[in-house]
Symmetry: C2
Amino acid sequence: MRIGIDAMGGDQAPVQEIAGALACREFLSPDDRIVLVGDESELLANLSEHDGWHDYIEIRHAGQMIGMNETPVEALRSKPDSSVAVLVKMHKDGELDACISAGNTGAYVAAAQMQLRRLPGVHRPGITILTPTYMGLVAICDVGANVNCRPQHLHQYGIMASVYLKAIGDIPSPRVGLLSIGEEDQKGNELVRGARELMKAEENLNFIGNVEGRDLFTGVCDVVVTDGFVGNVVLKLMEGMAEGVLTAILKEVAEAMPDMARLVKQAGGEIVNKYDYNEYGGAPLLGVRGICIICHGASDHRGIKNAVRGAIDLSKRQVNETIVKLLSGSKDS
Amino acid sequence: MRIGIDAMGGDQAPVQEIAGALACREFLSPDDRIVLVGDESELLANLSEHDGWHDYIEIRHAGQMIGMNETPVEALRSKPDSSVAVLVKMHKDGELDACISAGNTGAYVAAAQMQLRRLPGVHRPGITILTPTYMGLVAICDVGANVNCRPQHLHQYGIMASVYLKAIGDIPSPRVGLLSIGEEDQKGNELVRGARELMKAEENLNFIGNVEGRDLFTGVCDVVVTDGFVGNVVLKLMEGMAEGVLTAILKEVAEAMPDMARLVKQAGGEIVNKYDYNEYGGAPLLGVRGICIICHGASDHRGIKNAVRGAIDLSKRQVNETIVKLLSGSKDS
């Protein structure tokens, strides 16, 4: 496989992107190649201190970059030679089998939607993220690609995220919940009530019905389906809260046991590692004609490395092919 | 003041409701009365072991009750003599100055909306909840009264929640954020973009712009405005996550330091207390012609007692009067 990485994207680009690419050596097959897309001279300068990278890493020059706070569509228009635009274009042209970016998510998703088009039968692509909870991993789809959803979109998110989790998480029949504000049929807004009817009637879905916010942590389902607005709010809330609760708790414990402050801090560090998104291989934009993995902006080299591994898994386990097959048999598509 | 309590509502009704009412003695004025609404014989049997309750507690019989899992509107129709229906009717008829329930929130809100009507100028009432974060209290409005919002509704939630927080939290000019998925003007769904324009132009609002999920924990704003669907998801998510993270952390710390397990558990207990909703006086349904405080179903006697205190504060600090005044001067109302 040829896997492209937006080397200029993340908060610590290109250092973490390069370190991540180098770390992939341990699991790449002899024919696999990583293509770093970005400023050639900067990338060469960083790579020069390492040996043997030529064997599996290539560089593709891109003279521009899109910052985290730029407006996605405008930035893509004004910067056709940005690393993310070049990356996605290469994937479209068949030069890459998958692409990865930790940069401006909006720009990356917009480029992917515009360039790659959708898999046959897919209404709207959705970002699917695996979140660690103390009851195991939960996949949430969508977390920000599509903020004006229709019921059919949510229905398809359930199918796509199920296929993904089945393939990646080795869960034979993922339990799918629809995020709402109560379990009963009539609960929720119009969007959710419409989606619920479609999902109940869908035979390719192990649909368990509505779930509430708390159910992300109760282990009742493996996939949570929601629109991109709510999903993104939920995602950011969980990040902020994990940090907030952790800070509060460590402070409290350290105050109650001043002698133990160092040990407590160490234990806190272990928890942070366990709940670290860098361990979970990035979030695929499911539904596009290709493999696009989105990494957190603050990803370190492990986040990039695990995203490469995730891209290989998506390809090997034929996630896109399965999605197309299931959607072609779905009544609603 | 005469404050009514749905004595049959909460998970541990009527025991916690009665204990809460009894505990109010410490701050009630000589003329204040608590009216417990529910099964008279059961309430009398419970009260009989206490002395002096006659001085400040009255009982109003209601022969039916609505369970937590009943469908709100149907339940209200089929049970006109339910404790919550009688409670709200008494408030409407001027027999009570405020009412409190820890029962079925949907039924309580529906009864309040149907019976009490709205304050002049209010489009839709909204539930405003104070949530403790490690950066201080944050008020979220709405957390479930109105799941199909228009921009004007969000605009008014900002005004109403500001008035509330200013009065109750002694914050001179609460900073109001609009929950979205990015800071920029064009971010968010149609609802949020519409609300943003109205809120930017509103002079009675210290509007700081869009905030994200993580900002509930960063101390950048005092009030978070959102529609009832997203707000309810957020609320339940925070409850579930606080419990989940706490469990995971206590487990991890206890494992890392087995000798300290008891102390760690104790510290955990202190944190739970600090973040306990029972400390924060319930959530008012702002915008109705009256004072309706919603308590968590699992409220104990402290939750009930603090809700009574909250109802008195709302009345004394003229929250409803101020809301009416501000909305009458607002361009959009």
